[in-house]
């Protein structure tokens, strides 16, 4: 459980990091919090020629809020989603989901963007990114590009990042004040990756009917899944238990994960409907709370 040899680089600026990434390309990996990468290295499941450690780059350590965007830099640790007041104010789903990531100790090392780049389909942050229509910001020598979350995740631990690109930030649209959110996850133990999890953000009109529904689901496929069929089944509907339950069943065709030692496919299909139903129900309750609080 010792890593194979690699060249260690610790650039102090984004430009320097991008230069190194472009130089080593696919033979390099970016080290941020290391919570997933170091075990992979120690088990020799990845064998990069170079490891580009971005922890010294001060520019990446920022959380910035603008009127419509919350931007989280690639050096920001997961616990800051829980601790930083701006995050809860602008995108309240994030602190709630962050509490499910590993344990408090790992959240103090693991980074938000690192989790996105690792792209584990059972992880919390990729799921919230597709739910929230986040965009990932990537830098390469030829410039900066943004990638929508739903296109960013391309497979199990596979993303749309090009070999010469460095993921520098993620941008979350600010959640409307009246919107409600919910996050539900079923894992075998506290802190484990999800057997299935769901994030939901909803808006209700003055009659209490859904005007928008956004649902993401983790653990059921090779990527986090945006549950469009579920969403479509609810737009314009009243948030009754019956409606939500019926809509939640629409997730079933998206469950492609097979059997593993923790869950069968049949169980995951069922569980996906449960977490989707519960997340939407929680989001509706949260929306009601917000409108009551006004």
């Amino acid at each position: 459980m010792k890593p194979p040899p690699f060249t260690y680089c610790d650039p102090e600026s984004v430009d320097e990091a991008v230069g190194l990434k472009s130089e080593y390309g696919a033979d390099s990996l970016v080290l941020a919090g290391g919570q997933s990468l170091l075990p992979l290295l120690n088990m020799r499941l990845v064998r990069p020629e170079a490891l580009i450690d971005i922890n010294k780059i001060g520019d990446l350590q920022k959380i910035e809020g603008r009127s419509d965007i919350l931007e989280v830099g690639a050096g920001v640790r997961q616990y800051e989603l829980e601790d930083h007041a701006l995050v809860g104010e602008l995108v309240p789903l994030l602190p709630e989901a962050a509490g499910y990531i590993g344990h408090i100790e790992t959240r103090h090392r693991g980074t938000v963007c690192g989790s996105l780049a690792h792209a584990d389909p059972a992880a919390e942050l990729p799921c919230t990114a597709v739910t929230l229509d986040a965009t990932v910001v990537a830098r390469s020598p030829s410039g900066t590009r943004t990638i929508e979350a739903q296109h960013f995740f391309q497979g199990r631990m596979a993303t749309a990042l090009e070999p010469e690109e460095v993921l520098v930030a993620v941008r979350y649209p600010v959640t409307p004040q009246a919107a409600g959110h919910g996050f539900v996850e079923v894992a075998r133990r506290v802190g484990d990756l999800a057997l299935a999890g769901a994030a939901a953000v909803v808006n209700l009109d003055e009659n209490g009917h859904f005007t928008s529904v956004s649902v993401g689901v983790s653990g059921i496929s090779d990527t986090p899944v945006r549950a469009r069929a579920v969403e479509n089944a609810l737009i314009g509907e009243a948030p009754t238990e019956e409606n939500i339950t019926r809509a939640a069943d629409e997730i079933v065709p998206s469950v492609t994960a097979g059997d593993d030692i923790h869950a069968t496919r049949a169980y995951r299909r069922h569980l996906a409907t449960v977490v989707v139903r519960r997340a939407i129900t929680a989001a509706v309750a949260s929306a009601h709370e917000r409108s009551d609080g006004k």
Binding site: M1, K2, P4, P5, R188, G191, D192, H262, A263, Y267
Partner: protein, 799 residues
């Protein structure tokens, strides 16, 4: 009997150094010139090794040497084994690999990093054989063999019958039966097994190892290494809590010793976590039962009929000792007399079994309690009631059970009553009903008991074998007590006993009791194998009872010497003196006396003031033999008394199951144990907490899984799920103390009972929560998918 120190809550002497990481990890040990070894683990479950090419590895700068199973076969003997002589193993695979993870070659290099780089460069040509993963298929006559020399994949087969089960069942009103499946789990120590070997002074090979019991097994390791046993010294390194997984871990020190002898330099071989998960030699039991139990209409149990197939994995280092442990408490706490037990031990392409808290008796108890619960349900009896009706009664001890073992003492109704007094079952049962009706929630209550056998005798190493090669009968423990010239106490322990029990706290407490000194003033040390007196070591919950006997024996010798010195100095008869609070004083005139420090000064420095014939110094050793063991009958009809110091426990679990997710969560948990006289309730409570949590792990979470192709599925702690504080309930612990009539102070063992009863209590609680859907836990671990499938099927059946 009341004691001054024994029985009082005491913080463990061991804890401060452990809590700050200074407990002495083997991985922190550095010897001058030390090299590091890494092993190549087999990626295939079953194959002939056609060739191993180390050319590229040997070219890597920093790689010193590469060794394979062929080198082992040429230069050393097979590993120690209590299994069939035709099932042999070496520290590295010879000719054939038999499970994924088995060591194929070792690379010795200047660092562990370089050693692993070297492993990457090894090229092995395997000729793959069909994997044998299903123990039932393994028994078929046309199945490919793991061990050609053995001629069968059945390592052991025998049927034991004590009494007449058919006759007993003929008189039964109800016979319940079940197929029950206990999956593999294992103890997971903080640090894996490791050894550092160095060729030392006078040609003695010194091996530092964090395993256990080596004063008992040193001769066998020496035999493996083909060196005289006086040229091998095993040096104790703390094992910490391994719960069995470092017990007699012989392959790791044998491998390190072999490598050090080959390269003539110190070599460190320390398992990494993957090694320990897949190649520890200590996977727990893996059994399938067809089991039946007969009852009379009033709930009286009349007999037990078991047919068990145990999937031992690729080797059988401890023979079928796991089942000897089951025989030690084969009827549990119940009075029935008729037992049939068919055992087939099967070899498959998996890691071999070793020790895990309970060592086989925990599985038997789960089966017993599953059947009792099924009987209770069918007969309409509450779980506490059916048990109460069947308990061996307090006036029946000592009680000889079918099969031959003896239960020394016990008060099972008192333990049950104590547990029931700590929880209001009536109110929980009402609440369960209310929550189901009003909120649709599913609460379950499970109650289970266990016997907790402790203090094994060595006869159980061989008594299941028809022609044992070495039918030993000794399993002693030793202690050396020294009072130094200033009156300070040293305690020397002899069996490399530093693991998760509390040898220092126990030793210091007993010495304090014997001499009236503060426990914290005692210094405890551990002998290496070259200095060790006879000792068997921890295991089978024996150490506290045994070492207390040894310390008391040594103390009595020292006390006598102190009294004689004092008598001589005071010109009185020894009979007129007594030892009170670290001082020898005159009976009836306590103002006249001498402190231990004063007497120690005399003993060491004033030989002319000693009684005639007495020699200088104050040091005594004592070897305490097993307090009660009898030989087995040669024909297996009676196994003899081999595990007579019998504890008992009752657990009551209350949990809620979410029927939509299958996730259980605990609402309450009461655990009452009777471990005889308790030395330290606080640390016994720790054993109960840890053991019960491991029982919950085996029941709900932990699984060393192999797929049908023999690939290992539980490679990391992402997949091998150990329950944490978040999953465990807050255990409310109670104690009952029924002293053993056979041990010093009446101490019984208490290290394993938590894991032996929790699976039965938790299984029963899950059944109870989901009884309306026909839930019956029959396979461990019981996973959320199984629970949900049962609920869905039950709901479908309801229409």
């Amino acid at each position: 009997m009341t004691y001054t120190y024994i029985g009082k809550d005491r913080r463990r002497i061991e804890d401060p150094r452990l809590l700050v990481g200074r407990g002495g990890y083997i991985a922190d040990l550095r010897l001058p010139g030390m090299l590091h070894a890494a092993i190549l683990r087999s990626p295939v479950p079953h194959a002939w090794i056609r060739s191993i090419d180390a050319t590229e590895a040997l070219k890597l700068p920093g790689v010193v040497a590469v060794f394979t199973g062929e080198d082992c076969k040429e230069k050393i003997n097979p590993c120690m084994s209590f299994g069939p002589a035709t099932i042999t193993q070496y520290p590295m695979a010879v000719d054939k690999v038999r499970y994924v993870g088995e060591a194929v070659a070792a690379v010795v290099a200047e660092s562990r990093y370089l050693a692993e780089d070297g492993v990457d460069l090894l090229e092995v040509d395997y000729e793959e054989l069909p994997p044998v993963t299903d123990p039932m298929a393994a028994m078929e006559p046309d199945c490919v063999l793991l061990h050609e020399e053995h001629g069968s994949n059945i390592g052991y087969e025998r049927t034991f019958e004590f009494g007449d089960v058919n006759a007993a069942f003929a008189g039964a009103d109800l016979i319940v039966e079940d197929t029950l499946r206990w999956g593999r789990s294992a103890g997971m120590p903080m640090e894996t097994t490791g050894a550092v070997a160095q060729p030392g002074f006078n040609g003695v090979l010194e091996i530092y190892c964090n395993s256990l019991n080596f004063s008992y097994f040193v001769f066998l390791i020496a035999a493996t290494l083909r060196i005289p046993s006086n040229k091998l010294t095993l040096k104790p390194v703390p094992a910490g809590g391994s719960f069995g997984s470092k017990l007699a871990a012989h392959k790791v020190p044998a491998l390190a010793g072999f490598l050090a002898l080959q390269v003539g330099r110190p070599v460190s071989y320390i398992e990494d976590r993957i090694d320990h998960l897949m190649n520890s030699d200590h996977h727990g039991c893996d059994r399938t039962y067809e089991a039946r139990m007969g009852f009379r209409a009033d709930g009286t149990i009349v007999g037990l009929d078991i047919d068990v197939v145990d999937d031992y994995g690729a080797y059988m280092q401890f023979g079928v000792g796991h089942h000897g442990n089951a025989f030690s408490q084969v009827v549990g706490p119940y009075r029935f007399r008729d037992v049939k037990y068919r055992l087939r031990a099967v070899v498959t392409n998996k890691c071999q079994q070793g020790a895990y808290r309970g060592f086989g008796s925990e599985v038997h108890n789960w089966v017993l309690e599953r059947l009792v619960d099924q009987g209770a349900t069918r007969l309409g009896l509450a779980p506490e009631e059916i048990r109460r009706r069947n308990f061996i009664q307090p006036d029946q001890f000592p009680y000889k059970i079918p099969g031959g073992n003896l239960y020394d003492s016990g008060d099972y109704p008192a333990v049950l009553d104590k547990a029931l007094s700590m929880i209001d079952l009536d109110s929980w049962r009402a609440e369960k009903k209310r929550l189901r009706e009003e909120e649709g929630r599913h609460i379950g209550i499970g109650l289970a008991t266990t016997q907790e056998r402790s203090v094994f005798s060595a006869t159980e190493f061989w008594f299941l074998v028809e022609k044992p090669a070495f039918p030993l009968t000794s399993s002693p423990e030793s202690a050396t007590v020294t009072i130094d010239p200033t009156g300070q106490f040293q305690l020397l322990l002899h069996c490399q006993s530093m693991w998760g029990n509390s040898p220092e706290t126990v030793g210091a407490t007993v010495l304090a009791e014997e001499f009236g000194i503060p426990p914290e003033s005692v210094n405890v040390r551990y002998a290496d194998s070259a200095h060790a007196l006879p000792g068997t070591g921890p295991g089978g919950s024996r150490y506290t009872a045994m070492v207390a006997g040894a310390i008391r024996g040594a103390s009595r010798k020292l006390q006598k010497k102190l009294l004689h010195i004092a008598a001589h100095r005071l010109e009185l008869a020894p009979e007129d003196l007594e030892l009170v609070d670290a001082r020898v004083q005159v009976r009836g005139a306590p103002e006249t006396g001498l402190t231990i420090a004063e007497l120690a000064g005399t003993a060491y420095f004033f030989a002319l003031s000693l009684p005639e014939g007495m020699t200088s110094g104050l040091e005594e050793s004592y070897t305490y033999d097993h307090p009660y063991t009898t030989p087995p009958a040669p024909d297996g009809s009676d196994l003899g008394v081999f595990y007579p110091i019998m504890g008992h426990a009752c657990h009551i679990a209350v949990l809620e199951v979410d029927p939509d997710t299958g996730m259980p969560s605990f609402l309450d948990y009461v655990a009452v144990h009777d471990a005889g006289t308790i030395v330290n309730p606080r640390s016994l409570g720790g054993h109960v907490t840890g053991g019960a949590t491991q029982g919950i792990g085996t029941t709900l979470y932990e699984e060393l899984a192999y797929d049908e192709d023999g690939q290992f599925q539980s490679l990391t702690f992402r997949d091998y799920l150990i329950p944490t504080a978040s999953e465990a309930p807050v255990f409310r612990i109670g104690h009952v103390q029924t002293p053993s009539p056979f041990t010093e102070y009446g101490i019984k063992g208490g290290g394993e009972g938590g894991r032996m009863v929790a699976p039965a209590a938790v299984s029963a609680a899950i059944d109870d929560a989901l009884r309306e859907y026909g839930m019956r836990v029959r396979r461990l671990p019981v996973k959320p998918a199984t629970i949900v499938a049962t609920v869905q099927a039950g709901r479908a059946a309801e229409g």
